[in-house]
């Protein structure tokens, strides 16, 4: 018997976004949670499942006033929330809970009550075999594969820069985006050098914010005020936290495995997809994402973006909130990617893709370490 479907019935980001010096991370979780509850027309008393990363789920449950029968504290960086959605879907199908809240809150810029990052991004072995050489922060770790990628596909640094330019065009349409002013490839190339070939405008923001999703079964979802956004497909995988040990610098195994599972579960083809969100901590990541999810052949994503296919009016609008490069990035961006997918499927996005029916959100944890992909749709299959 096929499991019954699960849907998003509440979705919201924090009231403010950007620099929020007066809220701790726990308060950001709660602000997002209260907004999502209001969006769904629920209170904490209606929630029986809770998942979050950054703060512990028991801390958040007691703070919000939730008595859960299902808890998930999976914390694997920016794709934690994709994995929470996948796990929550199965928990609802299994009857462990009926209504799940998934929250994110991060004081990534102001560092108020912040959990912060682990001592070594890549774990103890990374601390021993990467940190001594300067591989100790995302700009010197996540970025290392890019030069190999460019060489293998005969691409240039301009091909990286244009990713930031394309996303800024989307951000210009989003009132909540941190950066909205248009930029050129030259602007990107001439911005401050961070870690060659990456300049400042090829690197994500660091901001404060959060978001929350509420999930329930498809049969109950019809009774909510918002149109249900159904979970059509889900996938998760990991490769490993040490960037030096990633098996192939032209493709992410975690992206490929998680994406393939999600598309198989949804039973759809790439051509069926109307909208995509790809976690963009740095400008090269959307290139990997578009290829590893199967939207482009290896090495063809840069040309795909250059030809306008991911931009306004293109056949695959991508990162329509402006992305981590221009919208916001608190550190674990995956929640914001899914928020934009939900807005697009509800038809309420600031830069709305006309008639968007199916949206794919790819999340990343660590530096190509973990991946979760969620496929959303406005209709049951």
């Amino acid at each position: 018997m096929k499991h019954q479907h699960v849907a998003v019935v509440g979705a919201a980001e924090t009231t403010e976004m950007g620099v929020i010096p007066n809220l701790t991370e726990l308060q950001l979780h709660a602000d997002a949670a209260l907004n999502a509850l209001a969006d769904a027309g629920l209170t904490a008393a209606d929630i029986d499942g809770i998942a979050c990363a950054g703060v512990a789920p028991d801390v958040l449950a007691s703070y919000l006033g939730v008595t859960p029968t299902w808890i998930d504290g999976t914390h694997i960086g920016g794709s934690s929330f994709m994995l929470h959605v996948r796990h929550a879907m199965v928990a609802i199908q299994a009857g462990h809970c009926k209504t799940v809240i998934i929250t994110h809150g991060e004081s990534g810029r102001s560092a108020v009550g912040a959990a912060g990052f682990p001592e070594f991004f890549a774990g103890r072995l990374g601390g021993e075999f990467e940190v001594p050489y300067g591989g100790n922060i995302p700009p010197t770790m996540f970025t290392i594969p890019a030069l190999r990628y460019l060489k293998e596909f005969d691409l240039t640094i301009e091909d990286l820069a244009q990713v930031a330019v394309a996303q800024r065009k989307w951000a210009a349409l989003n009132p909540r985006a941190t950066f909205k002013d248009p930029i050129t490839i030259d602007d990107v190339l001439n911005s401050k050098m961070i870690a060659y070939p990456f300049t400042l405008l090829m690197c994500c923001l660091r901001t404060d914010g959060g978001g929350a999703l509420i999930l329930t079964s498809a049969d109950r979802a019809k009774d909510f005020s918002q149109p249900p956004v159904y979970i059509l497909g889900t996938g998760e995988s990991c490769e490993g936290p040490m960037i030096s040990q990633m098996e192939d610098y032209t493709t992410s195994r975690a992206f490929r495995v998680a994406g393939e599972i999600a598309f198989a579960e949804a039973g759809i083809e790439r051509d069926d997809v109307d909208h995509v969100m790809i976690y963009d901590a740095f400008a090269h990541v959307p290139l990997y994402g578009l290829e590893d999810l199967g939207f482009c052949k290896p090495g063809e994503a840069a040309g795909f973006i250059r030809d306008g296919h991911t931009s306004l009016g293109g056949k695959l609008p991508t990162n329509t909130n402006g992305g981590g490069l221009s919208y916001m990035h608190s550190g674990m961006y995956g929640m914001y990617a899914m928020q934009e997918s939900v807005r697009q499927i509800r038809g309420l996005a600031p830069a709305q893709v006309p008639g968007a029916k199916i949206s794919v959100a790819l999340g990343i944890g660590g530096m190509f370490s973990v991946s979760g992909t969620i496929i959303f749709g406005n209709e049951l299959p």
Binding site: R124, L125, G127, E128, F129, E130, V131, P132, Y133, G134, G135, N136, I137, P139, T140, M141, T143, I144, P145, A146, L147, R148, K151, K192, M193, I194, A195, Y196, P197, F198, M242, I243, S244, Q245, Y249
Partner: protein, 137 residues
Amino acid sequence: MSKNSSERLLPRPSSESQHFWDGTKEGELRLQRCGDCGKSYFPPRPFCPFCSSRNVLVYPASGQATLYSYVINHLPTPGFDGPHAVAVVTLEEGPRMMTNIVDCEQTPDTLVLDMPLEVTFERQNDDITLPLFKPAS
């Protein structure tokens, strides 16, 4: 490599990696190989990540490598003075490792992907000697 006021962050060896750091002190780059499936691997651990065998041995690598990829970090980093390459090299035996490229300019024109490299050892203190790489002679 010159140092600024703050020191380079140094590794803290564990029981599973002590052989590696003993090796670098003696001017030897030590890898591990599986006694069952024959594959080499890195970083150190007391079992084979390909076939799960505990029958593994330590052996000296040739020290020859090629440049797989890198960034030139312009951000202030403890122990580094100015822009420096954070590199990943492919060892002749197959495994890859992060390192720094020394004895050459830290510029894109000088640091060419796939260039041949050879290991060189830089003593940090009584316990730690780091394996760095330089253009092959």
